[in-house]
Symmetry: D3
Subunit: 318 residues, 6 copies
C-alpha cells in the first residue's frame, strides 16, 4: 500500500486510511443525490476524495476521525489529485490497524518528547523559575502528549507542540553555549512557556486542530500563558512584582516580536530577543522540511507555504 505522498494520478488504491474530514453534500442532479466530500489521511499526508453512492445506512455508519478501508482511483480534479472511492467500509478489530499509525506525527515518540521537557525543567537552576515552569507544564502535560503546535502554519501534527519545544531546546542549548551572556535558565523557561497555552487556545484531536476555543479567540495563547504565570506565582508564594515573574511574563508576552503578530510588548531582554529568533528559526525550517516531505518526490517545487509568505520551495539539484 503506497503512502499518500507517493500516489500518482491514475493509481488504483486499496487500503486503510483515516477519514480526516467527512461532509455530506448533494449533487446538482434531479433528483439531487447524497455524496460524501472526504479528506483521507495517513501518516505521510492527505488527499481529497469523493464517495458518490451514499446509502441511508452509510450516513449513520461513517464519522470523521475513523479508520476505513477504501478501494478507489486517483483522478485529477481542477489540477489537484482526488480519490474517487468505489468501495468503503469501517476498519474492524480484526484488521489489526491502529488509529495512531494513520495520523501524521512528530518523528519522536510523544512520551520521549515530554520526558525531555521534564528533564529540562529539572535542569533549571533558579528554584522560582523552575517551580513556575513546572506548574505550567503540569497544567497541560497530558495534552503535550499529542497537541499540534498550530492549525496549519507549522508542526501541525500529532505531538507537534512538544516536538517544537524539544527542537527549540536543542537550539537554545547551543546558543547559550555559544553566547555565555545569555541566562540558560531563562532561555529554557522561555522556550517551554512560550506556546504552553496553545492547547487551551485550540481544540485538537489526534493532532488535528478543528477550531479555536473561545478563550483562544478572546484572550489568545500569549495572554493565557501570562495568566498562568500569575496563577503559578500566587500558588507558589512568589511576589508578582519580582524580577522572576517580570522576566518570565516578558518572555511570553514578547515572543511574537511585533504588535501586529500579537505581542503587546516587544523583546527587551537579551533572552527575549533570543527566544523570538529561536522560535522563528525552528518554525520556518520545520515548515520547509514538512513541505518537502509531503510533496511527491518527483515534483521540483512544493506547494506554496502560507507561513513563508506563500512562497514555494525548490529542490535544488546540487
Amino acid at each position: 500500500m503506497k503512502p499518500i505522498n507517493k500516489l500518482s494520478i491514475q493509481d488504483e488504491i486499496i487500503g486503510f486510511y483515516l477519514l480526516k474530514e467527512l461532509n455530506m453534500r448533494q449533487t446538482n442532479g434531479t433528483p439531487p443525490k447524497d455524496y460524501f466530500d472526504i479528506v483521507l489521511a495517513d501518516a505521510s499526508g492527505q488527499i481529497s476524495a469523493k464517495y458518490w453512492d451514499v446509502t441511508v445506512q452509510d450516513k449513520e455508519t461513517f464519522l470523521p476521525m475513523q479508520l476505513v478501508k477504501i478501494q478507489g482511483t486517483v483522478l485529477s480534479y481542477r489540477d489537484q489529485p482526488q480519490v474517487k472511492i468505489s468501495r468503503i467500509r469501517k476498519a474492524t478489530e480484526e484488521d489489526g490497524v491502529s488509529l495512531t499509525d494513520y495520523v501524521r506525527a512528530a518523528p519522536i515518540r510523544p512520551v520521549d518528547l515530554v520526558h525531555t521537557i521534564n528533564l529540562t525543567v529539572n535542569e533549571i537552576r533558579e528554584p522560582q523559575i523552575r517551580s513556575i515552569v513546572q506548574y505550567c507544564v503540569t497544567k497541560v502535560e497530558e495534552k503535550l502528549m499529542h497537541y499540534p503546535a498550530a492549525k496549519t502554519y507549522h508542526h501541525a501534527y500529532y505531538a507537534g507542540l512538544a516536538y517544537h519545544i524539544v527542537r527549540m531546546l536543542e537550539i537554545g542549548d547551543f546558543i547559550c553555549k555559544q553566547r555565555p551572556f545569555l541566562n540558560p535558565d531563562l532561555i529554557k523557561a522561555g522556550i517551554i512557556l512560550h506556546d504552553i497555552a496553545k492547547p487551551e487556545e485550540m481544540i485538537a484531536q489526534m493532532g488535528v486542530v478543528t477550531d479555536y476555543s473561545n478563550h483562544g479567540k478572546l484572550i489568545g495563547h500569549i495572554a493565557l500563558a501570562s495568566n498562568w504565570i500569575v496563577e503559578a506565582a500566587i500558588s507558589l508564594d512568589i511576589p508578582l512584582e519580582s524580577e522572576v515573574v517580570l522576566g518570565l511574563q516578558h518572555l511570553v508576552l514578547s515572543h511574537h516580536n511585533l504588535g501586529e503578530w500579537g505581542s503587546p510588548v516587544q523583546p527587551q531582554t537579551a533572552e527575549a530577543v533570543a527566544l523570538h529568533h529561536i522560535d522563528n528559526l525552528d518554525a520556518k525550517l520545520q515548515m520547509v522540511e514538512d513541505a518537502l516531505d509531503t510533496t511527491i518526490e518527483t515534483e521540483p517545487w512544493t506547494p506554496m507555504i502560507r507561513g513563508l509568505d506563500n512562497k514555494a520551495i525548490y529542490r535544488l539539484k546540487v
Copy 2:
C-alpha cells in the same frame, strides 16, 4: 499675574511658578559658565526658560517640582517664546502658595472623580464583576487621586486618569441607554479597568509622568491589568475559566483595537467594540480641548497634536 497661556513676547513677568523641569548646563564660552535650562509651569500651561547666572549655592538650592518666585522677560527663541529669568528664589511658607495650585489638573476635584468611580463600581449589578472591579480599583485608589492618563498624548495632567474614566462613564451611560443590547455592567467595568494599571506603567509626580516603569516597559498596562483580574479572581474564588473573567480580560486586552497599538486580541464582544470607540472618542476630543485651552487665544491654530497624526486644530470663526 498673567497665566502662562496668556503670555506674549516682550512681557515682563514677576510671580510664582513651578520648576517643572530643571537641568544644569554650561555655556560654550571660555571659561564655560553654568546655567539652568528650565521648564516653568502653572495650571494653565508651560514655557521654557533660562537662568544664566547660576551660583554654587543656586545649584544646591533649586530642584525640579519646586515652587519658585521668578522675575524675567519673555523673549523669542527659535520662533518659540522663552523666559529669560533675571531673579529667582524658592517660595516660602509666608508666600502662602500651594504646589497644587500650580500644576495642570482635571477641572473636577480628584476626590469627586474617585467618588464617582466608586459609586459606579457599586452600581454594577453582577456581583462577580463588581467585586473584581472593586479589587482592582482598591489597588490604585490612592494613585487615582492624582495620576495622569498618559505621558503626553491625552489627559496628561493631575488626576487626568480619573477624569478620563469619569467622562467615559458618562458617554458609556448614554450609549447603554441608546443601545439596550449592550450590557451596562460590562461597559462600566471595561471603562474602569481599561487603563487601571497605568499608574503601575508610569512614574508620575503631581500629574507629570517622568518615565515608564520597568513593568510598564516589559509588560505594559494592558497585560498588567489582565494580571490583576487573574489576581482578583483567585483572591475572590471566581473560576479563571468563567465567562466573567473571560469577558473582563477580553475588554482590557482588546481595548487598543489593533495589534500595532498594543492589543494582543481584537474586540470580539459587543462591549469590547463599544469600549474601544468610547475610549477613542473621549481621548481625541480631550486632546483637542486641551490644545485649544492652552494655546494663546489670539492664535487661530493650535500647535500640532501628536495624538492626532500631528495635525493642528483651527479655531473656526463661525
Copy 3:
C-alpha cells in the same frame, strides 16, 4: 412562518419571501438544464436558495425584488444553510402581503426619521449654516425615506441612511452637552451632511444597493457633498470664501479621517474630529447589533463582519 434568522437545517418551510437576487444558471449535466440561483430575504435576514425545475414560463414570470410564495427544505451546502425550493409562485393581491414587510428596515419609521432630521435642521441657529443644510437635505429628501447607508458595511437596509443620521444626532447632542467647547450648529450640520450624497453615489431599491453610480465611482459621495455645498452657497448668495462654507466643506471632506479611507484632508477643527468619531462609533456598534440580530440565536458567534476587520462577535454569557 419562521423568520429567516430562526431557521435551522432540515426545516420544512412554506411562506412568503422576497426574491432579493435571482440568476438563471445551467447544470453541468447532459443536456444542461436551467435552474434559478436565488437569494431569499425577509425583514429578519436572508438565505441562499436553489430552484431546479425551471420551465420556459418560469423564466418569464420571476424577477428580482418580487414577493413569492415558497415551499422547500433547508439543507446544508458547503457548511452554509440553503433552501431547496420545491414549489414557487408569485404573490398576488389576494395574499395581502406587502413588499415593505419583507425588506430589512430601520427599526423606526422612515417618515419619523426624516421628520427628526428636518426638526434638527430647524434647530440650527446660525442662519447660513441652516440654509445650506436645508438646501442639501431638500435635494435628497425623498431618497432619505428609503436609502441604506452602505452596500454592505453598515445600516445596509431600508432607510438605513436616515437611521444612521438620527442616531448620530442623538450622540452628537449628548457630546455637545458634555463638552460645551463644541459648536452644536456645526455638529448637527456635519452629521446631516456627511453622508448626504450617498443616494447619489449608490443605486438602491427597497433598501438594497445594487451598484455604485458612475458619479459614485468617479467623484464619490465625499466630493459630491462638497459640490452641493458650493451649489447651495452660490444659490443662497453666501460667499464661497466664508468661514461657514469653509467649515462645512471641511466637515464633509475630512469625515473619513484618513486619506486611505477617502478623505482628501484630515480633521482639523474640533467639530471635524468629533464628527469622525461619532460616525465611527455609530457605524461600528450598528454592525455589531445587526450581526447579533441576524445570527441564529443559539449560535454563540456571529459570522465574520467585514467592517470590523473580519472579526466575529461572541455572545458573552454574563
Copy 4:
C-alpha cells in the same frame, strides 16, 4: 560676483543678495546680544548666514524679501557652508539691481508661460470643456505669473507652477499623438486644471511659499479646484451632472492617484491615468534637474531629495 551655487568654503564675498529669511536671535552670552539669523538667496540658490553685531537701527532697517549688499566670508558650520556677514546695507535705487534678478525662477519668462497656457486653452475643441478651463484660469491668471508649484518638493520657484503646466502640456501633446485613443481636450484640460488651485492653497511671494492658507489646510487644492469647476459650470449654465463636469472633476480629484497622497478617488478614465503619470514624470525629473543645477558642480552627489524618498542623485561620469 559668484552665484551662490558656485561658492566654496573660505570665499570672501561682496555683492547683492536677497534676504530670503531674516530672524532676530540672541546669543547665549552674558549679557545676551542680538544677532540676525539669515537665509541669503540669489537666482542660483540659497545659503544660511549670520550677522552678529546688530544695532537698534539695524532691527528697524532690515526686513525679509529685501535686497541687500553684503560683505562676508563663507565658513563651515556643522558641515554646511554659512556666510559670516561683516557688513550689510540695503540696496538703493542707485545700485540698479532688481528684486526679480535675485529670486530663483523658471527658465522661461512668466509672460510666455501664461501665453502658452492661454493658447492651449483656445486649442481645446469641445466648447464646454474650453469654457470651464478658461473660467478657472482667469481666476488665477495673475498669480500664474509668479506662483511656485510647491513649497519644497518641486518647481519651488518663481513661476514654477506655470512652468510645470507648460512642460506637462508638451509631454501631453506627445503622448496624445503617440496614443490616439486618448482625448486631447481632456488631457489639456486635466493638465491645466490639476494644480490650478495651488495659488489658493499656498501663500507665496516672489516664488517663495511662506505658508499654507487656511483654505489650503482645511480643503486642499484638489477639492478647491473641484469647487471651481462647479462654480464655472453653474456660471456657464453647464449641467453639473453632465459628462463634461464629471470628466473634469474626476481628472482633478484623482490626479494624486492614491488616497494616502490626497486623492479621494483613483484614476478611472484613460485620461486620468495618463494625467497622473505625466504629472509624476514631470515633477520627478524636475526635482532631479533642479538638484543637479543647484549643487556645486564639483560635488559628485546632490543632497538628498525629499520628493525622491530622500535619495540623492549621482552624476555618472559617462
Copy 5:
C-alpha cells in the same frame, strides 16, 4: 465570423479559434463523464468554453495551442459569457488558417519592432554602452520576435515585450529632447536592457506565458539582466568597476523603483529616475488601452485591471 470581443450572450458561433487552454475534467454525475474545460482565443480576446461529450478519441486529438473549428452557443455562466461547444474539429491545412492570425499580438510586425530596436542600439554613441547593449540583445533576439512583456499585467501578447521597448524608446526620445540634461545613450540603453531578461524569466509560447522558469523565480529578470551586463563586460574586456558598467547595472537594478516591487536599489541617477517613470507611463497606459480594446464596445466600464489597483476604466462620453 465575429471576433471574440464583439460576442454577445445567445450568439450562435461557428468558426476557427485557438485552444489557448484545455483541461480534461469529470462531471459530478454517476457515472462521472469526461468533459473539456477550455479557453478559446482569437486575436481580439478570449472566452471560456465547455465541451461536454468527450470521446476517447477526442482526448487524444485535442491539445492546447492548436487551432480548431468550433460550433456553439454563447451562454451566461456566473455572470460571465461562456461558449457551450456542440461541435469541434482540428483545423487542417485545407482550412488555410494560420496560428499567428489567432493569437493576440502587438499592432506592429515583430520584425519591424526588432529592427527598430537594433537601429536604436546602433544610434548609441558611447561605444562601450553600445557594445554591452548589443551583446544582451543578441542573447534574446529570437525571443524578442514573439515574447510578451508579462504574464498578465501589461503587453501580455505576441511580441508584447518588443512593442513595450519600442514605445518606451519613442517616449525616451521625446523626453531627452525636452530635457537636454539627460544622457540619451543611457536612456536608450536603460530602455532596451530593463526587461531584456524577461524571456529567461518566463516560459511563453505564441505570446502566452505559461509559467515562470526556475531562474525566473529564484533570480528574477532584474538580477538576470544584471548578470548579463557582467557577462557582456567580461567578454568585451570592459572593466567591471567602470562607470559604464556601474551606470547600466544601476539602471536595470533600480527600474522597479521600490524594494517591495523588486528593485534592490532605488533610482539614483537622472536617467534611472527617468527610466522608471517612462516604464510606468507606458505600461499603465497600455493596460488601459488593452482593456478598452478588449471590452465589448457597448459596455461603459472595462473589467477591473489588476495592474491598476483593481480599478476599472470608464468610457467617458465626451
Copy 6:
C-alpha cells in the same frame, strides 16, 4: 586609566584615546573662536568631547583616526556625558601605544577568523561550489582582516564582518547536524558569500565605516556579490545556467528575505530560508551583546538599539 564604558560624570581623565571623529567649529561669540568637536574612542566604547582653545598650530596638528593623550573632565551635556578637554597632544613613538589597541574589535584575532573561514571553504565537498566561494573570498581576503559588518547596525567594529561569518558558521554547523535535510555545502557557501561584497559597499578604516562607496549606493552588496559569482563562474568555466550558480546566486540575492529589506527575490530553497534566519539570529543577538557590553554597568537599561526597532535592553536581575 578607566575604559570609556566605565566613565562617570565628574570623572577627571588623563590617558590615550583615539580621535575617532574631529571637526573644526566656531563659537557663537564675538569674535567667534575656533574649537574642536571630537568623538574620542577606545576599545570599550566612545564618548563625545570638546576642545575649546584651538590654536592655529592645533588645526594642522590633529587629524581623525590619530591617537592622542588627553586631560579633561567628564561633564553632562544634554543628558549625555561629554569630555571637556583641557590638554591634548599627539601620541609619540615613546608612548608605546598602538592604534590597534584603541579601536573596538572582534573578540577573536582577525587572523584566526580568516583562518577559520578558509578552513571552512576547504571543507565544502562539492568542487564547483568550493571553487566559486574560494574565488570570492580571495577577492576580499585582505579586507576581511579588518572590515566591520555594518556602519552602525551590528558588528560595527574591527574585523566585525569576519567575526559575523565565523559565528554564523558555528550556528550553521549545528543546524545542519540537527536537520540533515539541509545541504551543508550550501549552508557554508551561503554564510560565507552573503555579505562578502560588504567591503566593496562601504569605505572603512580601522573597523569604522566612514561612508558608502558609489558602487555600494548604486548597486549594493547583494547585487555586487551576485556579480562576483558570475565573474567566478566565467573564470572557472562553470556554466551560468547550472544549478550550482543558480543556488548560490539565490542564497545571496534572497538573504535579506523581503523586498523592502533589499532582496529582489524571497528565499525559495531550504538553505536560503535557513541562511536568512541564521543571519538574523546572529546579527540581533550581537546587537544585544554589544549594547550590554558598552553600557555603563550600573545602568539597568542600554540605550535604544536602532536595529531592534529602537528598543532598549533591560538587564534582568535574575
